[in-house]
């Protein structure tokens, strides 16, 4: 059992969902996504973010807009499409179910562990 692999797979499953939830709150610039995730203690490299955004855009969940900046050429801002909002709703639903399920299971384990400890002591 490769713990690192499992970790990265867990993260991979959630990352797309996290990014979608950030964009769902409004128009956003990619580096802002990185910042916001960093605040939530989720680290992501821009090098992995861009391909993901492109993929989501190509899937029709996202769209982008060129926004003039104060200095230099315009920047690419991402927004969510209607399709994306629907997909986000489905994912949110799934996440809630998953979270409760996982919580329940892990809590049960903790309770059992506590019980054993008590029995031993």
């Amino acid at each position: 059992m490769d713990i690192q692999n499992t970790q990265s797979q867990m993260r991979k499953g959630v990352l797309e969902f996290c990014i979608l939830s950030i964009i769902q709150q409004g128009e956003v610039y990619p580096s802002d996504i990185v910042e916001k995730m960093k605040l939530a203690n989720l680290h992501i490299l821009e090098g992995t973010l861009y391909p993901l955004l492109t993929r989501l855009k190509n899937a029709g969940l996202l769209n982008y807009r060129w926004v003039e900046s104060i200095s230099g050429p315009p920047r690419k801002y991402f927004v969510m499409t209607e399709e994306g909002k629907v997909a986000f709703g489905v994912l949110l639903q799934t996440w809630k179910e998953m979270a409760t399920a996982v919580d329940q299971l892990t809590q049960v384990k903790i309770i059992i562990a506590n019980n054993i400890e008590q029995a031993v002591s």
Binding site: S8, Q9, R11, L45, G47, T48, R55, R75
Partner: protein, 747 residues
Amino acid sequence: MNKVININFQGRILPIEEQAYEILKQYIESLRVYFANEEGRDEIINDIECRIAELCEDRLKKGTVCIAASDIDLIITSIGRPADFEAQDGFEQNTYQNTSGNNNSNFYRDGNRPKRLYRDEQNKVLGGVCSGIANYFVIEPWIVRILWFFLIGINILAYLILWIAVPSTSVKVVGGVRKRLFRDIDKKVIGGVAAGLSKYFGIQVWIVRILFLIPFIRFVVNFRHMHLFQFWDAPDFPNFLDITFSPGAVFVYIVLWLVLPEAKTSADKLEMVGEKVDLNSIKNTIQNDMEGFSKRAQSWGSDLYNRNKGTNNSNEANASNQSTENHRSTEKRKGLLYYIGRIFTLSIKVFVYFILAIVGISLLAALFGIGVAATALLPLKNFILDDGAQTWSVIGAILLFVWVPIIGIVTAVIRKFAGLKKANVWVRSSFIALWVLGWVCIFYFGSSLGNSFSRHNLPAEQSIALTNPTINYVEITAAPKMKYYENNWFQFEPFQGFADEDTVYVRNLRIRIVQSKTDSFEVKIVKLSNGKTVQNANELANKINFELTQQDSLVYLDRGIGINKIDKFRNQHIIMTIAVPIGKRIKITNKGWSQTNININGRGMRTGTIDRISSDENWFDEWNEPWDNESYQYERGVEYKMTKDGLVSLSPMEADDLRSDDSKKMDDENLDKEIQLQKLKEEREAIKNDIKKLKEEELQKEKIKVVKVNEFKKDDIGSSNLEKMNQIGKAAGKLSDLQWVLDRFTH
């Protein structure tokens, strides 16, 4: 001290240190490689470039004068390197497969899943076939390897098939880094070719090195001299595959050295290791390509179909839509025409390329053939060429004029197919320079060789005494022990006895038949030679040692004109004049010497000979006549009778009758044949009787066949006995000729 350059990067002008610029370029190149199979590759890279430019500008705003290498490093770290992407997240779909692949390596040992044959990626030496088999039978890999080694030869093919067909334990990475063959200069011994190959196939360096070294080891031990061209003679598989382990390896090494680029940048090095490549993945690539091609062809076909449909529909269109439909249909028609035009131009292009390819390939093959022949004949140089400049010029001509363009063309073709850039200017210009040097060599060689042959000796006629000149019939033939065969394969006629290392025997002889003024046979010879000076030519002519030995009616010619390393070949030849008395007969057999002369300078050589002789006034005037004069007008193997008007050929029957008077030997032979004939006749009678008895039986037809065969045999032996013998002799001669050529090649 660093040079600062200004770059226009995604719409921003950035002053950047050259070093930093190099790093940035490499980084973007590595991204390009990493996202090679990603659908929106260009867009992703564009976005990342934009972001880098933005970050750089931020840095400049903060007061940095220019972007330094350290800045770029920081930026790259924040965005992440391809290696980081894979380690950190697992966004790439292939990571799923990667992880499952890692688990695979052990699962067949657990026995949880059905047992299947895999190539073991962990314990492999070459392709992991042996260790895979060992795993399958749960034995130690080295046992399989030793067994495999003992079977070497036949199992090479089996190995290749298994390598291709059996899946590897590491599942192929889809969409990973593309792999390219580089020369690994970090681990090079000579040119880094072996190291690059080992990286490419993911095997140990020493294995590749040993494969390259095997020919030398074998050559030194004299195990068996392998030749690059051996498979032309012996098309069996092990020998054919031995091409990899032959001196051809040197050739392969040189070509690879020239073709492969060095792995300089980190992106190159990434590509060098890249995705796991074995024969399986190569096969997959080809398959994908083919599928892609058929898909494209299909879509193109349906497109064409739709266009056609469109034109038809538009004709039936409503009046109201007439104008727009018409407009559209013309557009579509245009498209159709455009496609037809494109098909036309494409087919012409293909045709032209095809012709060019054929011409190119045949030129290359011709050049290659010349190279091989010249190299194979190189041992002969001692017998022709002067030491020093002439020898060196011929070696130079072979190497530079023939082999250099071959290597150059092969290199260029491989580069073209591999999609590599053209070789750099230095390589190309040095190739051209070498070739020009080859031209110089060949011109020098030609003129110097011509010079060596430029003068003739002063001819002098010598009589050769025959032991018994008064006989009625003379047959000129080759010495009985001498093997001489008409060589129709390679026209290296002057060098028949090439196997003898110290001396080769040249058989340049012309035999003239003239009328004798006395009643006995007379033989006169003229020794001729060329040389640098007249003196030199005279010397060489005097050294020609030529003798005749007579046995009854048979006159045997000498082995040939001896040529050795001191008395080199300068077109030494002999003209022998046989004077035949009136009423007597002569025959020049097929076994005699070659009567062809080497014409180094085309006709010039001949006229030279004639001029020289005519200038000598002691000689017959008839020498002034062209060479195809009457005295050469005879066929070999045919008997002639000298009459007052000249030679008259005799039919075999006449000859037999006349000869029966001459020699008892012939009589004996004839007697033998008559006895044989008698026997055959008796046999035929017996068979005829048999047939009569068996007439009603079904075997009748076969018997008749037997009779026919026997009749045929009888007729043959009865009439054209001698001709048949000659034919057999010729056939045997050709056979031995082939054998000789074969031997030469294998030596």
